[in-house]
């Protein structure tokens, strides 16, 4: 309780941590507070009532977690980044026997599919194995189905064509990957892409990694922004351990690495490459 005897958000997060497998205490303060605030308004509950239900109702906890996690993503968000990966970076993986990818925080999956399309265009899809993880049950369900609403309206085809400098205007390339229903503004990912991906429910806050392979690519865009620096560093450390030497980490356009990790990765445009520099663990 604070000095006025009113429960604070921090205390609610502590209740949530004690009575569920979820720990949001190292999320960025402002965005988590505002999202809890939204849950309270939508459910017409006070923090005390919210805590009370959190203590006794497991299914309610799942609903709260769905409501406070962010699930926005787009196909080929920031086309310039995708173009760079396609032209400059991913081709160098052709020498590998396998290309293992961890997409951490895949949400509803648009960017996993975007990435697979790049590999298919590079004729490397056969080598690719993808682990796509997210905390949200609902988001993973959508990702598995691969059917998306209102993407055409938001310019996904234009973004797609600009990545490949495709100026033919007949969208043949796009139609290789998606079934399109223009009337309903609905697109569906073709099965040959979907079957490449192993979707796994996983909370990045937890210290485990939900598979045993080391990976060549960690893809984690606009996920770490929801965490404070302490948690960000812990997760980047885990990415570093999970990557092969010269493996790459891809972050969002306005995400960076903090001081210490800058020495453990070499930055090349939007890509952070694991460097061979040996460090004793701090």
């Amino acid at each position: 309780m604070n000095s006025c005897g009113v429960m604070t958000y921090k205390e609610y997060l502590r209740v949530l941590k004690e009575h569920s497998p979820y720990d949001f205490s190292d999320y960025s303060d402002n965005s988590i507070y505002r999202r809890i605030d939204k849950v309270m308004r939508d459910q017409e509950l006070t923090l005390e009532q919210l805590s009370e239900r959190t203590r006794r109702d497991k299914e309610f906890v799942e609903q709260v977690v769905e409501a406070i996690t962010v699930n926005t993503t787009e196909l080929f968000r920031d086309p310039a980044v995708w173009k760079y990966l396609y032209e400059k970076h991913l081709p160098s993986l052709a020498a590998n026997n396998f290309i293992n990818i961890w997409h951490a925080g895949c949400s509803t999956g648009q960017e996993v599919y975007s990435l697979l399309i790049l590999f298919n265009e590079l004729k490397l899809l056969d080598k690719v194995r993808v682990f796509a993880t997210d905390i949200s049950r609902n988001a993973l369900e959508v990702a598995k189905k691969g059917v998306y609403q209102n993407q055409i309206d938001r310019g996904c085809i234009e973004n797609f064509n600009s990545v490949f400098d495709d100026k033919t205007g007949d969208n043949t390339r796009f139609l290789k990957y998606f079934d399109v229903d223009e009337q309903q503004d609905r697109i569906g990912v073709k099965p040959f892409l979907k079957e490449k991906i192993k979707f796994i429910r996983h909370d990045l806050v937890k210290n485990d990694v939900p598979f045993y392979n080391k990976v060549d690519v960690v893809f984690c865009r606009n996920v770490l922004i929801y965490f404070n620096v302490k948690l960000q560093n812990r997760i980047v450390q885990r990415f570093h351990e999970g990557l092969y030497n010269n493996g790459i980490l891809i972050l969002g356009a306005h995400e960076g690495l903090s001081g210490f990790f800058k020495t453990k990765f070499d930055r090349q445009g939007p890509v952070y490459k694991k460097s061979n520099v040996f460090h004793l663990r701090y």
């Binding site: 402002n30 965005s31 507070y33 505002r34 962010v70 310039a80 922004i225 620096v229 306005h254």
Partner: protein
């Protein structure tokens, strides 16, 4: 009490349609020794990812940067909310970015920048709303007022589009309604 005695921790400026020239004017007349971190949250076209920060830097007398996530606010540096991200001001004077849902048809949403600053710095927040064709920012600016921060609305008669300042004025009574020249004066009065 003099405004400079209030030791503001952040100044947040929000604007939309028509605000580029006003912001540019303010920055070009600002004292280079401006002692407070400045946050600019301007609606911008999602597909035009660059150019705005360069454009503002041309005339500005303090540096304008697009921050990375968790970057620290710095006195005398203007941080421009990056395109297609929401921006929050945190307790520890860092910036958090977010890609969560579009709000008031906007990302960045000015309401989020204002209300996060109000939440983090309370009465140490100074909020300014400029010309714009949207109601975004009104509620957020009110939250600054509610926390006893200082609020300025651009005089609607000097606005290209007056919807945004008018929505704020409908919602609450700000500390001042000022022309761009007067806004510059107030900001420069924060320099000791």
């Amino acid at each position: 009490m003099e405004l400079s005695d209030r030791k503001f921790k952040v100044v947040v400026i929000g604007g939309s349609a028509g605000s580029f020239s006003v912001v540019s004017k303010i920055l070009s007349q600002l004292d280079p020794g401006f002692p407070v971190p400045l946050v600019l949250c301007l609606h911008r076209l999602k597909h035009v990812r660059s150019g705005l920060v360069e454009g503002l830097n041309l005339k500005s007398r303090i540096p304008v940067v697009e921050p990375f996530d968790k970057e620290k606010l710095k006195p005398g540096v203007a941080m421009l909310a990056p395109s297609n991200y929401h921006l929050f001001v945190e307790f520890d004077s860092t910036i958090s970015l977010s890609t969560e849902e579009v709000y008031n048809h906007s990302r960045p949403a000015i309401d989020f920048a204002y209300s996060s600053a109000a939440y983090s710095f309370r009465e140490k927040t100074l909020g300014i709303i400029l010309t714009g064709a949207n109601k975004d920012g009104a509620k957020g600016l009110k939250s600054i007022k509610d926390k006893k921060g200082y609020t300025i609305v651009q005089d609607p008669t000097t606005c290209d589009v007056e919807t945004m300042p008018q929505s704020a004025l409908k919602l609450f009574e700000p500390d001042q309604v000022l022309t761009p020249d007067e806004i510059v004066k107030v900001l420069n009065s924060l320099v000791d």
